[in-house]
Every structure is written in structure tokens, then in C-alpha cells.
Amino acid sequence: MTGLVARSRRVRGIAGSLGGYLGLAIVLGVILVLIVAGVLPPRRWAPFSDIRVWLFLLEGLWVTVQIGAAALVASLILAVPLALGRIALPLPLRWFVVGWIELVRATPVLALILGITLFMPRDWLAPMWAATLALTIYTSAVLAEILRAGILSIPKGEVDAARSLGLTYAMTMRLVVLPQAFSRMMPALVSQMITLVKDTSLASIAAVSELAGYARSTHSFFGNPAETYFLVACVYFVINYTLSRIARRLELQRAKEPPVVVPVGLEDVAVSRA
């Protein structure tokens, strides 16, 4: 009996996790039918039957992945001192950290990207890395808040226990609190990666050619902007939907733990624990 329930749950889980891919397949199928039926202009879709167009877009995707990965790693490293600073620094110094985190999170990412690419001399930092820096500034502030929520969710008794066993404050953080906090922030972290991947597209406005920039080159060559943007949106969708499924799975694994209270200002994260 319990086996049956468990199996049906597993089946529903698989169906649930494939729902988005299935929906995409249906939409693409309908479009294909409409092209064959001549409702949609076949001429504008024809370029995408050529593998070279996809290889070209893949080059753009590679730049997107580079920017995203670099910003993610740098943000993770920066988030630790920011989160710890907001928790543990003495008061006048703590205000600087709080102010920095809150101001950065209150700023549009695009304004950051354009500001830094505009005022950063090009021989100091190429536009691609200037955009990465802007994304890092924003993402590190958000991750710091997620990490802080994770740290604060660790029961105080564990810190007390570690301290009375003779661990120093730094060792307690490194060996007891941070590993658990990182593990608890994983679902929120993966959700934030989705936002980061979407935000990398904004670099194209600052003349950085990543996937969105390559999409522009593609459609200006073939004269099919709507079709190109739709298919490029599908590429982003496959990446981000996969990430969202991973986040969901991580969340279900942690369903028995007390939920991490997510700070205000995170559009994706706040609703993820439904």
C-alpha cells in the first residue's frame, strides 16, 4: 500500500518535472504544423534547418556560459564576507555592509551594467568583463542575503556546543555553521542562477556579444527577428527550466528541515517554497 503511494508519487514527480519540456515540444510541434500548412511563412523559419546557424548561436551561448559561470563563482566568494559582515561586524562597520547590500539590491541590474561599461576605461577591463563585474556586484549582494538567511537558520545551540568543545569562532563558522548554511541555501542558490542566466542577456545592450547579441546578428542577416528571438527564448528556457527542476528537487530533499526564511526583494526565491 505504502509502496503504491510512493510509486504514484514518483510517477507524478517525473510527469511534473517533464511538464515544461512536454509543453515546449507541443508548442514547437504546433509551429511545425503551421509552417508545413503554410500559415507561418516557411522562408523565415528555413535558416534554422541549417546546422551552421545553430553552431553560430552556440558560440554566443558559450560566451553567455562564460559570463554566467565567472559571475557565479565570484559572487559566491564575495557573498561569504558580505553575509558574515552583516551578521558579526561591530555596529558602525555593519551599517556600511547593510547599506551596500540593500543599495545594490535596490538597483536595476541594467543600470549597473551600463554604468560600469560606460565609466570603466576599456583598456582596464574589456566590456565583457565589465558586464561580468556588474553582474557579480548584484548577484553577490543577493547571495549574501540568501547565505545570511541560511546562517541564521542554524540553531544557536550548535554554535554554543561547538564553542564549548573548544572551537574558536572562526573554526565554528568554517566547520559547523557555513557547511550547513551552504547546504540549506542550495535551492535558493540554484533559483538565483536562473536570474543570473537571464540577466546575462542584458550585457548585449552594453555591446557584449553573448547569446542575445548573436541572436541579433542572426536575424539581421536573415531578416527574421520574431522567429529568431522565439527560438533563442526556447534555448534560454531549456537551460533555466532544467535549473528550476534541480532547485525543486533540492528543495524536496530538504522538505523535512525547517524552511529558510527568505529575505524581501527576491522575486524568484520568495515564492519557491509553496
Binding site: 515546449l24 538597483t107 541594467l110 542575445a212 524581501v264 517554497r273
Partner: protein, 217 residues
């Protein structure tokens, strides 16, 4: 004098500021309508309606707003569907659809957070399905839904800056216009302070509200 470049171009800044506010407020209202509709389909609709709403949420939430705006700008343009060429209207439509996906999820999670026992109790007391939703589910859902919807609103104000990319003359557009004319840091800082004057008070109000609603539960 400090602030001279901003004072000299105050008209542009104010015009952009008002456009951003108008764009954000109307997109939020539209997103709430879309969100309520889609969340109802998702929770109470059959498998087909629920599936359509689910795919809408997943697709628009997981693709960049920028790409969506470019797409809408092309599709709505006079030479295609012929609906509008005004970038502010295109941005309004794009922002509404994008934000609607997040609003759907916020509202859905609020509705699902209501204890099923409440619904069973209401039904066994003889309340009809609609009366149960109207009198029991929605008032309670409203409380859980306000903090995440506030986050959505804050993100919307910041996301409205992406309309710059399709040439809508909103705050970022006007601010960057002045910045590139004078090439000084001052108007750029004006942009940042302008957005902060909208997003930070909202965050403070939300933080207070969240604490109060948290106690009430």
C-alpha cells in the same frame, strides 16, 4: 555647483521618472489580473487549463525579459500584427506578461497555503464552492500573498529599466541620455538615486508589513 547637470536637465529626468512610475504601476495592475486568472486556472482548472497556465508560468519565468521585449516589439509592430509601434506600450505589454508569471506563482502559493481543513469545514457547513473561495480561501490567501507580491512589485520597478533597450523613454533612458551628453558621473548617480527613491521605501514598507503579518498568523 553640485547637481548642476541634473538641474539643467530636470525636465528630462522628471519625464522619465513619471514614465517609469506609470509603466510600473499599470504593468503591476495588469500582472495582478493575469496572475489571478492564471492562478485560478492552475489551482481549480482541469488538467488542460492547469497545464496551459503552468506552461505560461514556466516559459515566461525562465526566459530573459529582454528577449521577450524584443519579440513583442517585432510582433506588435505595424508591419506584422500592426497593434502598436510605441515602445512604452510594447514595454507595458511585455512587462505585464513577464511579471504576470511571477504573480501567478505568488498567488497560487498563497491559495495553496490555506489549510485544506478550512475548506472542508466550510464545505461541510454548507457553503458553496464559490462562497468557500470568496469567504474562506481568498481572505486568508491575501495575507500570505502580500509579501511575495511586494517582491514582485519591487522587481518590476527595476525590470522596467529593460524597456530602455527597445527605446522607451523611461527613467534609465532619460538618465543615460543626460549622462552621455555631459559625460559626467553626476547624472548617472541621479539615475541610481531615482530608482532607490522608489525601491527602498517599498522594501521598508514590505519589511514592516511582513513582520506584522507574521505576528498575526
Amino acid at each position: 555647483m553640485i547637481g548642476q547637470t541634473i538641474v539643467d536637465n530636470l525636465g528630462l529626468f522628471v519625464q522619465g521618472y513619471l514614465t517609469t512610475i506609470l509603466l510600473s504601476v499599470s504593468a503591476l495592475l495588469a500582472a495582478l489580473v493575469i496572475g489571478s486568472l492564471m492562478a485560478s486556472m492552475r489551482v481549480w482548472g482541469g488538467p488542460l487549463l492547469s497545464g496551459i497556465a503552468g506552461f505560461y508560468v514556466e516559459f515566461f519565468r525562465n526566459t530573459p525579459l529582454l528577449i521577450q521585449l524584443f519579440f513583442f516589439a517585432v510582433v506588435l509592430a505595424p508591419r506584422n500584427l500592426g497593434i502598436t509601434a510605441d515602445p512604452v506600450i510594447v514595454a507595458l505589454i511585455g512587462l505585464s506578461v513577464y511579471t504576470g508569471a511571477f504573480a501567478t506563482e505568488a498567488i497560487r502559493s498563497g491559495v495553496l497555503a490555506v489549510d485544506p481543513g478550512q475548506i472542508e469545514a466550510a464545505r461541510s457547513l454548507g457553503l458553496g464552492q464559490l462562497a468557500t473561495i470568496r469567504l474562506i480561501v481568498l481572505p486568508q490567501a491575501l495575507r500570505t500573498v502580500i509579501p511575495p507580491l511586494g517582491n514582485v512589485a519591487s522587481a518590476l520597478i527595476r525590470n522596467s529599466s529593460v524597456a530602455y533597450a527597445i527605446g522607451a523613454r523611461e527613467f534609465l533612458f532619460m538618465g543615460l541620455l543626460v549622462t552621455s551628453r555631459t559625460f559626467s558621473l553626476e547624472p548617472y548617480l541621479g539615475i541610481l538615486f531615482g530608482y532607490w527613491s522608489l525601491t527602498i521605501p517599498l522594501a521598508i514598507v514590505l519589511g514592516r508589513l511582513e513582520r506584522r503579518l507574521g505576528f498575526a498568523r
